[in-house]
């Protein structure tokens, strides 16, 4: 088959095969690096080593403990962020006064790199759960808030006019027209927010934790166990991807009414 026909219209099978070439090559390289001792074992574990470490952690009940701790933090922080973003975003989106009152401050806070809050949070709340959850919530809040406000501002004026001709105003207008119309933007924001929550989870657990996937990373570094570090990275990839897929399923379920290209 000529190369250009591949480029213009790749078959599904070919596309999937292309996507797998790089990961498989990397995996082979990884196995080779361990087998032929290109790299010292305290720097890089073999895939078999990572697998054995996962099995060992699992058999000792540590795997479940770390995963549960992290998942719990992510969803608690994300839940707090979602609730706050919906509350504040609705006020800012719907009320001009609310926007003038709150949005400048929030935009200023958003401009601060979120990790800059870490020392302050540790100072205020210590190294307990609340500091970690607050950090995760700060990270997840802004994508949800920004998307929700943009969604409310972008609601089709024509639909609002219909509501006006029917005498639907005020809270009824918000509840029956504007918020349902905003649902797609809100869900996009929530998906990005959840990804951010995982990012900030690692940041929080790297700094101060006694369990969780981020803690596995620190511990692996301190006791020179690359297999533990790589196990944690692998688990983070899996759970990040799983929660993103979950959000996409929710999006597809709730916004099947949109008449978009895709």
């Amino acid at each position: 088959m000529p190369a250009d026909s591949l480029g213009t219209r790749p078959l599904t099978g070919v596309r999937i095969a292309l996507a797998w070439i790089v990961p498989v090559a990397l995996l082979l390289l990884w196995i080779a690096a361990g087998t032929f001792h290109w790299v010292q074992s305290y720097q890089l574990a073999t895939p078999q080593g990572v697998f054995e470490e996962l099995v060992s952690l699992g058999s000792r009940g540590l795997l479940a403990k770390h995963i549960l701790a992290s998942v719990d933090r992510v969803f608690t922080g994300f839940g707090v962020a979602l609730a706050l973003a919906i509350l504040v975003g609705t006020i800012v989106g719907l009320s001009r006064t609310g926007e003038r009152l709150l949005d400048p401050t929030l935009q200023a806070i958003r401009a601060v790199p979120s990790l800059a809050w870490v020392p302050l949070l540790l100072l205020w709340m210590g190294i307990g759960e609340s500091a970690k959850i607050t950090l995760i919530a700060i990270g997840a809040f802004f994508p949800i808030y920004v998307n929700l406000v943009a969604g409310i501002h972008g609601v089709d004026r024509k639909l609002v006019e219909v509501a006006h001709t029917l005498g639907v105003r005020g809270i009824a207008l918000a509840a029956r027209v504007i918020l349902p119309a905003t649902l797609p933007s809100l869900l996009v924001g929530a998906r990005i927010g959840l990804t951010q929550a995982w990012l900030f989870l690692v940041a929080a657990e790297l700094l101060a934790a006694t369990r969780g996937l981020g803690f596995m990373l620190t511990e692996g570094q301190q006791i020179s166990r690359p297999d533990e570090i790589l196990s944690a990275i692998l688990l983070l990839a899996v759970f990040g991807k799983l929660s993103e897929m979950g959000m996409r399923v929710i999006e597809a379920r709730l916004t099947g009414w949109t008449d978009s290209f895709r």
Binding site: K158, V162, H164, A181, W257
Partner: protein, 238 residues
């Protein structure tokens, strides 16, 4: 008694007047069509009556329950046909009317479809049904059939005529279709000029209303002239 009173109505956008000191009265039960070139302020007139635009001067009042039908269906995309119609219902009496209105507009089999699944004609029927659920005494129709193909349009013109008759409703219809105006209206008003004013007013003969087979050639010619369209009737003699 008048259903719609427009007195010395003036509307300007950014200081540029669309119409100045417009007077128009629509009697109860009367159907008046407003014709005019695009940009003459036909839609603005309806929007002033419905309160969607604030008049620059004068008043535009409708005495009664007003139903507004836009040029586009403007359905809520997350609600199916039945729920879009139900959206307009204010109480149990009106909610109980939903089924009947869906039947009247020929939408019974489409009740569960989402707006994105509807053809243009069905979507506009849904918009009409949504308005009718309140049993309005006054219908403001802003080129409601303009986006439809010719056959679908004739079909819905007939439906509209029978609905207006059934409700004993007053209707103010904005259109750019001379034949539609002649078929549906009791009286036709032509807007023109800049700023617009009423150029011509014409009463459709009683025995020619809501009839496709009526010979309205003289009225048609008058309207087309008022709209600045030269008629292309054959001028040969036998």
């Amino acid at each position: 008694m008048n259903a719609i009173n427009i007195e010395r109505l003036t509307k300007a956008f950014d200081g540029k007047p669309v119409f100045v000191d417009l007077d128009l009265v629509v009697a109860q039960g009367e159907t008046v069509a407003v014709l005019g070139p695009s940009g003459c302020g036909k839609s603005t007139l309806l929007r002033c009556i419905a309160g969607l635009e604030r008049p620059t001067g004068g008043t535009a009042r409708a005495e009664g329950d007003v139903g507004y039908v836009f040029q586009e269906p403007r359905l809520l995309p997350w609600l199916n046909v039945e729920k879009n119609v139900r959206f307009a219902a204010r109480d149990d009496v009106e909610r109980a009317r939903v089924g009947g209105v869906l039947g009247l507009t020929g939408l019974h089999d489409a009740a569960r479809l989402l707006p994105k699944q509807l053809s243009g004609g069905m979507a506009q029927r849904t918009a009409l049904a949504r308005t009718l659920v309140r049993n309005p005494s006054i219908l403001l129709l802003d080129e409601p059939l303009a986006a439809l193909d010719a056959l679908r349009r004739m079909d819905l013109q007939a439906a509209l005529a029978s609905i207006i008759a059934t409700l004993y409703a007053t209707a103010l219809l904005v259109t750019h279709d001379v034949d539609e105006a002649l078929y549906l209206a009791d009286r036709i008003v032509v807007l023109g000029g800049s700023p617009s004013r009423i150029e011509t007013e014409l009463v459709v003969p009683l025995n020619a209303r809501r009839r496709r087979d009526a010979d309205l050639t003289p009225e048609r010619t008058t309207l087309l002239r008022a709209l600045g369209v030269e008629d292309h009737l054959p001028s040969f003699s036998i």
